[in-house]
């Protein structure tokens, strides 16, 4: 017993010494640290997979599994470029941390809106010689980012709640007399403000620039008249429907589709689907920008997009060319299907990017003031 205890304590002592050494290190002159950091970084690079490899960073979850098992291998097969899947929590902090630290990410899936001058600090300009963007709507492309897929925000409801007339539009979500039940909406301005304006009678083509006063007034009406719960993540949204916390509200088409496959009894309207893109960008710290650009081009091509949609049901193509080869039954569920062109509501990325900081500020003030 005593012997074992001794050994345990020795390990502890060893670790303690290591900590003490590090502590001494930290107390040293900062100038010396820079070289140490550089050395460490180069060691890290040696351990990372060989050059020519692209690290593609997604938002995690089941998409990540599909990316690493199906999509990236297909890219490697098509181009001969090795690719590794990584994931993050869509947070800007994680990207900044990555750029200050390990610098091993190349392509990042990006869900945020920010002014272009901030994008310029994070991303390399798209090499349009490689990333042609053919078949991708111009509105989804700017100097730094290109749409990777679409998140369709849909009027979604529990099937058992409305046996008669079914909710179709955002105005129906705002109408809690005809369609009673607790609402669930997203704690996020982009998409929710659009829904509020549509519910208030603004036509899809007149949405931008957003009339923020009118949008918040419309949201005020909603929270005054109806019970509303607010979700922060896509997972919450499905749990809320499945456990009866909410009966109607804003669903994300991919989540809704997957939940339906799991037997959750919900339906989504194909009217007024708000199209919110996620985008690809190449980090400024990428060690392999050319291969990274090649990945983006391959993935946003009709073939790449079709594979994404097939391998990950619910993933919505940005490239309309993808629909040529898609299974018609699957295509039926995807809001960017040309047949829904008249009913969907595309978001204006240039507007959202430029005005996001002020919009978010106002959202926080409004949201925390809901009583």
């Amino acid at each position: 017993m005593t012997k074992r205890t001794t050994r345990r304590l020795t390990y502890g002592g060893g670790a303690l010494l290591a900590i003490a050494a590090l502590a001494g290190c930290a107390a040293g002159a900062p100038a010396e640290q820079a070289s140490t950091a550089a050395e460490q970084a180069s060691t890290a690079a040696e351990e990372a997979p060989a050059a020519g490899n692209v690290v593609v960073v997604d938002g995690g979850g089941s998409y990540h599994d599909v990316a690493s098992q199906t999509i990236l291998p297909a890219f490697t097969k098509a181009t001969g470029i090795d690719a590794t899947a990584a994931s993050y929590d869509f947070s800007l902090g994680a990207i900044q941390a990555q750029m200050e630290g390990a610098k091993d990410w190349d392509v990042v899936m990006f869900a945020a809106n920010m002014p272009e001058e901030m994008q310029a600090q994070m991303f390399l300009p798209l090499d349009r010689k490689i990333v042609t963007g053919e078949g991708v709507p111009e509105g989804l492309i700017n100097d730094y980012l290109i749409g990777s897929s679409i998140n369709g925000f849909q009027v979604t409801y529990r099937t058992d709640a409305y046996p008669g007339a079914k909710p179709q539009t955002w105005a129906d979500v705002w109408d809690c007399d005809t369609f009673p039940g607790t609402r669930q909406m997203m704690n996020w301005p982009a998409g929710t403000l659009e829904a509020a304006l549509l519910a208030d009678g603004v036509a899809a083509k007149d949405l931008y620039p957003l009339d923020l006063d009118r949008a918040f007034a419309s949201l005020d009406k909603l929270v005054k008249k109806c019970d509303v719960v607010w979700y922060n993540t896509g997972a919450d949204q499905i749990q809320n429907f499945a456990n009866g916390v909410a009966t109607i509200g804003m669903g994300w088409n991919g989540r809704v589709y997957q939940a339906q496959q799991e037997g959750v009894d919900i339906e989504a309207s194909m009217e007024q689907t708000i199209l919110a893109p996620t985008r690809w960008g190449v980090l400024k710290t990428s060690k392999n920008p050319e291969a990274a650009m090649k990945f983006i081009q391959w993935d946003t091509s009709p073939e790449g997009n079709a594979l994404e949609a097939t391998a990950y049901p619910g993933q919505v193509p940005v490239n309309s060319g993808a629909f040529d080869s898609l299974d018609p039954k699957l295509a039926e569920t995807l809001p960017t299907n040309p047949k829904y062109a008249d009913t969907v509501v595309p978001t204006d990325l240039a507007y959202l990017d430029a005005s996001f900081p002020a919009m978010y500020d106002r959202w926080q003030t409004w949201f925390t003031g809901i009583s």
């Binding site: 960073v57 998409y63 456990n243």
Partner: protein, 594 residues
């Protein structure tokens, strides 16, 4: 105190600080990996993007910051108040019950803190409180209500979720401190003809007050820095300031603003700490209740006045009347027993529900679960992502638990045996990592580790987890250290035992139970903490909480519940073994004495 002068020659060999010098390594580690990062954060709050006070003026001019600050404070205050009231019932039960009931209550208190962590707990509460969840179903089945109560998401759910951790924290902290107090006064008072209630109010209450204050402090600051529970179980009116810190970091990428909000949180927490230190709360953790801690004259007169009031003739008549009303006492007893039982159920319910739902066949978590399968456990034990993350977590957890407990033990020794002033300062200093939201501390540490090339490494994560586990280790090891009968050590010294030998053969056996608890607590903290883990992990290095976080955020994957189930099984197993070992050891000791 009397043997202090005798012990002086030997302690002098350790240097002029004596036993206090053992506090130097923990102090240094905290300085390098906690204070320096906090300074870095403070710097960023002033100099990012350029030097200005705008990040601070924003805090007080933007309504969202003020509202969330108020929310943080009020949520934590309410939950702390409930913890005090309900915790007192549990404390009473703990002090008075038989060994087995006490063990059962202790297990129910420890479970919420050590199984699965915040993530699994929140999933379980969401399911329990939902309109179609077990609580509403049970109430409807008994006919108490006709339609489901709206229990979530609102302030009620937030308080329930918070209380579920704050109640155990309060009770365990207070219990370990109260146990140290001697009960001689108690007997003296009873001998003089007081009723039990009077005895409690005059003899026991003043003695346990500092311990309870200390426990309240710890409980409040943890509630103040929390964000996952309010954001997971609450509505818009429950948005808390730490949530805004995280949003600034994650969604807006504004480190300067996030840093300023972090500094504000730290300032408020420090204010509370200073207040409670002034009231003598923090001292109770390292100095046994009522063991000759010098009291100020005003405290003395207060205590004397209080006692005079309680034992005054009219009051005594009232107390006698209460004492004689047997039915009242019986009713109170029955009521307290019922509340205790309900609290134990409240404490273990999420763990039980969490385990039950992990056996679902579906990939959507509901209660009751659909079907029965081990599928998600299979996934946990075979999926390479989960396996490698679990391995990393075990390595990080074990090393950081050992290091934190070692440092905590050294701090405890210095606090109890050292002869230096400003012990309260030392105690407060080691508690600091508990006060600042971990996401802010993590960001600061991250920035420092990047500079020395230790980010994205297991040692980097170990450092982070040592920092956050250290306060727990100090709180757990100090009472153990101060209950030790130091004359034994003196005796061993007299017969010529070396300091090392005295530690192994004399002190260690006494410390062993607390050491195990501390190790386990630190291990579990490391296993379930996500703020540091998310920042320190990357493409090539991931840990269990990171994978769990991913699973919850994206899909509420039942594998997360399965992981929670495994953690629960391991915890309960370890607790059972520990209790058995303790019982056997006690029996052996008592039979030897007989």
């Amino acid at each position: 105190m009397t043997n202090a002068s005798v012990a002086r020659p030997s302690t002098r060999r350790w240097g002029s600080l004596g036993a206090g010098s053992l506090a130097i390594p923990p102090l240094a580690v905290l300085a390098a990996f906690f204070l320096v990062p906090v300074v870095v954060i403070g710097y960023r709050s002033l100099f990012v993007p350029e030097f200005s006070l705008v990040n601070y003026t924003n805090l007080f001019t933007k309504p969202s910051f003020l509202r969330t600050l108020v929310n943080s404070a009020s949520i934590s205050l309410i939950a702390t108040a409930y913890a005090l009231v309900l915790g007192s019932v549990l404390l009473r039960a703990l002090i008075r019950s038989s060994q087995w009931i006490r063990a059962a209550i202790l297990v129910s208190l420890v479970l919420p803190l050590v199984t699965g962590g915040e993530l699994v707990r929140l999933v379980a509460w969401k399911i329990i409180l939902s309109p179609e969840g077990p609580l509403n179903s049970a109430l409807m089945a008994t006919g108490l209500i006709d339609s489901p109560l709206v229990l979530i998401p609102n302030r009620f759910a937030v308080i329930v979720g918070l209380l579920h951790v704050m109640l155990p924290l309060f009770v365990l902290t207070a219990f370990s401190a109260i146990r140290l107090g001697n009960v001689r006064l108690h007997h003296a008072a009873q001998g003089m003809g007081s009723t039990p209630l009077q005895t409690f109010l005059t003899a026991d209450l003043p003695k346990i007050t500092p311990a309870v204050l200390a426990a309240l402090l710890v409980t409040f600051v943890i509630g103040f820095g929390t964000y996952a529970t309010p954001s997971g179980l609450g509505g818009p009116g429950d948005t808390v300031l730490p949530q805004l810190v995280i949003d600034q970091l994650k969604l807006v990428g504004d480190t300067g603003q996030a840093a300023a909000a972090g500094v504000l949180l730290l300032a408020v927490a420090l204010l509370v700490l200073v207040l409670l230190t002034a009231l003598g709360g923090i001292r109770a953790i390292y100095s046994p209740a009522g063991s000759g801690a010098p009291r100020s004259a005003r405290n003395m007169s207060l205590a004397a006045g209080w006692t005079a009031l309680i034992i005054s003739k009219p009051m005594t008549a009232v107390f006698r009347a209460i004492h004689r009303a047997g039915w009242l006492r019986g009713l109170t007893k029955a009521l307290l027993a019922l509340i205790t039982l309900l609290l134990v159920l409240f404490l273990i319910a999420p763990t039980v529900i969490g385990v039950v739902i992990s056996f679902t066949e579906s990939s959507i978590l509901t209660f009751p679960p659909k079907g029965f399968s081990f599928h998600w456990y299979g996934q946990f034990f075979t999926d390479p992502v989960w396996v490698s993350a679990t391995k990393n977590s075990v390595v990080v957890g074990v090393i950081s638990a050992i290091v934190a407990t070692a440092l905590g033990t050294m701090t405890a020794y210095a606090l109890v045996r050292g002869r230096f002033r400003r012990k309260t300062g030392l105690m407060t200093y080691t508690m600091l990592p508990l006060l600042i939201p971990w996401v802010v501390a993590a960001l600061g540490l991250y920035l420092v580790l990047v500079q020395i090339g230790a980010a994205y490494t297991l040692p980097g994560l170990v450092i982070g987890h040592v920092i956050i586990a250290l306060p727990f280790a100090v709180v757990l090891m100090t009472p153990a250290m101060s209950t030790f009968d130091w004359t034994q050590d003196r005796a061993a010294q007299v017969v010529g035992a070396s300091p090392l030998r005295r530690f192994y053969d004399v002190l260690l056996p006494h410390l062993r139970p607390s050491l195990f608890i501390s190790l386990w607590f630190c291990l579990v903290t490391s296993f379930t903490e996500i703020a540091f883990a998310l920042l320190m992990s990357n493409t090539y290095m991931s840990t269990l909480p990171v994978v769990m976080f991913d699973g919850i955020r994206y899909n509420v994957s039942p594998t997360v519940a399965a992981a929670g189930g495994v953690l629960t099984a391991v915890t309960v197993g370890a607790l059972a073994l520990g209790f058995l070992a303790h019982t056997v050891a006690t029996k052996r000791t008592s039979s030897r004495r007989n």
